[in-house]
């Protein structure tokens, strides 16, 4: 059972760019705008081939001013587009999916917890990990005789580093999967909670939790094969 708060990066399953209102307005009014442009072109042609005398000095000044205004408008429009694309659209923000899971096994009367973690960079930027603080925390649930609906309290057993020396960063669309074996001095009467918290050097954190229940352990004790080495999502 894994619990992790997720938010859609975009509003639909198929990722689409956010569409600014200006673009919508432009799309709806493209016909009159094109008509006005065509009219302006016709006027220019009439003025050019007409019999009226042209003061080329003032025309040059007008063209210069028009060019300046056009450049300024282009800069503003480009800035607005870049703002929507990169700031509002969060195109290059750090995005990560995290998952953790555990399984209890018994070998020669010793109890072990196999922990699997998976990280995937679903953004477009490289994420550098804070290796010193990213942690996997193991909590033990405290047994209670509940006479009401209560959340079971847990007690922190240990906090382990998640990354080795070589796990410094993750590139876009890369996947990291790791498994580790933790020895336990005794078996909890209820089970354990695993909490994976990954920190990046840019100061962001991602967290996911998972409950490893006692039934998982009993499942192994019945002699059914545990799932170590079993193919999962095509990965051994």
């Amino acid at each position: 059972m894994t619990d992790s708060t997720s938010h859609p990066a975009q509003h639909s399953v198929e990722p689409t760019e956010p569409e600014p209102n200006f673009i919508k307005w432009l799309r709806e009014n493209c016909v009159p705008i094109a008509g006005m442009g065509l009219g302006a072109l016709v006027l220019c042609l009439v003025a050019h081939y007409g019999s009226a005398t042209v003061d080329w000095a003032s025309t040059k000044d007008f063209a210069q001013a028009f060019a300046n205004v056009t450049q300024s408008l282009a800069l503003i429009v480009g800035g607005v587009w870049a703002y929507f694309k990169f700031a509002k659209g969060r195109t290059f923000q750090d995005r990560l999916t995290t998952a953790v899971s555990g399984e209890l096994i018994s070998i020669d009367e010793s109890v072990f917890l196999i922990v699997a973690i998976r990280l995937q960079n679903v953004g477009l930027s490289r994420i550098a990990f804070d290796q010193e603080v990213s942690s996997l925390e193991v909590f033990e649930y405290v047994p209670l005789q509940a006479e009401d609906i209560l959340r079971v309290k847990n007690d922190l057993l240990t906090s382990l580093k998640v990354f080795g020396d070589k796990d410094r960063y993750i590139e876009p669309i890369e996947l990291i999967e790791r498994q580790t074996l933790i020895a336990l001095p005794h078996v909890s009467k209820i089970g354990y909670q695993l909490e994976l918290e990954v920190l990046s050097n840019s100061g962001y954190a991602w967290r996911t939790t998972s409950v490893v229940g006692k039934p998982a352990f009993e499942h192994n004790e019945t002699g059914k094969p545990n799932r170590i080495g079993e193919k999962r999502n095509g990965i051994e």
């Binding site: 938010h7 399953v13 998952a99 973690i117 679903v122 580790t180 100061g203 962001y204």
Partner: protein
């Protein structure tokens, strides 16, 4: 041992930790590392581990 699957385009919620929370995490990790280092030395003394063995490429 099932891991969550996320549909394409989805990401886990992200947030920032306070400096105090980061320091607390650092302390907890340090306690565990000291515990593991003591265990490693004990194994070396018992001859179950070679002295030049580095701690495992960590972990999960």
């Amino acid at each position: 041992m099932e891991l969550s699957d996320y549909p394409p385009g989805f990401a886990t919620h992200r947030y920032r930790l306070t400096p105090e929370e980061i320091e607390r995490k650092r302390q907890r990790i340090k306690i565990q590392e000291e515990r593991e280092e003591r265990h490693r030395r004990k194994l070396i003394e018992e001859g179950k581990l070679r002295p030049d063995d580095e701690p495992d490429e960590q972990p999960a």
